[in-house]
């Protein structure tokens, strides 16, 4: 037999515990801002979306970089053209996705009577797209660095990039959302 449940638990526990500690800190930021979030439930809907999109884009980018490094058409260099193209396209896909999903979220909130406080569509789109843009930039850079460093050390980036970028994305997504909300003066 190849698998044993004890090994699965033993191998999974350390990385999961570190990941979850960071996620609990993200949760504490939400608790600290709870009143603002309950006043604007549209942002409660947005949080899983912001995190999911950045996690998916970061993981796809990581998987593409991993394949490129394994096959050899991407070199470990900050000047690699193929890597730059991938980075740029990830950011572009991120902006398009956040723009479309912001409209969908707004419509759902509008018809679900969740717009308890007044917020304009344009303002909401701007908040989500800006948060998303900052987040995708960070996630994309983390993805590149994690892929390069793990590959250099002889580890398979396929195993490492996805958990690292989703965790960083979840935490920074919440940080950036409140940063942008602060700039727009929403919920303060």
């Amino acid at each position: 037999m190849i698998y044993s449940w004890k090994k699965i638990v033993k191998h999974g526990l350390p990385l999961l515990t570190i990941t979850l500690l960071i996620e609990v800190f993200a949760g504490q930021i939400l608790q600290g801002k709870q009143e603002a979030l309950l006043l604007f439930p549209i942002f409660l809907i947005s949080i899983p979306v912001i995190n999911s999109v950045s996690g998916n884009i970061g993981s796809v980018l990581g998987a593409r970089l991993a394949s490129g490094l394994h096959v050899g058409y991407i070199q470990i260099s900050l000047k690699d053209k193929e890597m730059h193209d991938n980075l740029f396209i990830s950011i572009l896909i991120g902006i398009i996705t956040y723009f479309i999903l912001a409209i969908v979220i707004y419509l759902i909130a509008l018809f679900g009577n969740l717009l308890t406080e007044d917020i304009a569509l344009i303002e909401f789109i701007a908040i989500i797209v800006l948060t998303g843009f900052l987040l995708i930039c960070i996630v994309a850079f983390v993805s590149v660095f994690t892929a390069f460093i793990s590959f250099k050390r002889g580890l398979d980036p396929d195993d490492i990039v996805a958990p690292v970028v989703t965790t960083v994305g979840d935490f920074m997504g919440i940080v950036f959302l409140f940063f942008i909300l602060g700039i727009f003066g929403v919920g303060l």
Binding site: L13, L16, E23, G27, L30, I89, I93, L101
Partner: protein
């Protein structure tokens, strides 16, 4: 051109997953009264979603590898290798749920919020274990269909679990919070 191909291949799937996340988010939005009533509840939500994502994608990708290694296939699905993997995922969900509950309680305590520790740990535990059971069964179902059709499980299980995982996990937290609030 590279850009066009990449956008064409991944944009629809990422938007589709985003729509799934909106459903998960709407459940989050619907929980706003419970969040007000149960201090500490909002803290566990990002962690439990991440826990589910991590454990079930790892489960899916191990089954994918097992398929490529030839130790599991459509006619020989329910064997000891699969059972060990199921046990591993369930035990991991159980232990890690308790860890999330404890971490949330202690960090809240440091920040001068005083959740009921029994309530918080019970909510995480019920939501964590039930979502683990549902998602494990779902993964096996998806893998069975994938095998039957001769697709590569590696290409299908990840996105499918990412999309359904968030929604099911949020519904489990919602249900478990209502249940615990009702009995305690």
């Amino acid at each position: 051109m590279l850009a066009k191909v990449m956008v064409k291949q991944s944009l629809p799937l990422i938007i589709f997953c985003g729509i799934g996340a909106i459903l998960a988010g709407s459940t989050f939005g619907a929980m706003k009264d419970l969040i007000r009533e149960i201090p500490g509840l909002i803290v566990i939500i990002p962690a439990i979603i991440a826990l589910r994502g991590n454990i079930s994608t790892a489960f899916g990708s191990r089954i994918g590898s097992a398929y490529h290694l030839g130790i599991i296939n459509a006619d020989n699905l329910w064997n000891d290798e699969l059972k060990e993997n199921i046990k591993g995922s369930l035990f991991l969900s159980f232990f890690v749920s308790i860890i999330i509950g404890l971490l949330s309680y202690f960090t809240s305590f440091l920040l001068n919020v005083y959740p009921d520790p029994v309530k918080i740990i019970l909510i995480v535990l019920i939501a964590g274990v039930i979502s683990a059971i549902i998602l494990t069964l779902m993964t096996i179902g998806i893998i069975y269909l994938v095998f039957k059709r001769g697709y590569d499980p590696d290409n299908v299980t990840g996105p499918a679990l990412a999309t359904f995982g968030d929604i099911i996990t949020m519904l489990c937290i919602f249900g478990s919070a209502i249940f615990v609030e009702a009995i305690l």
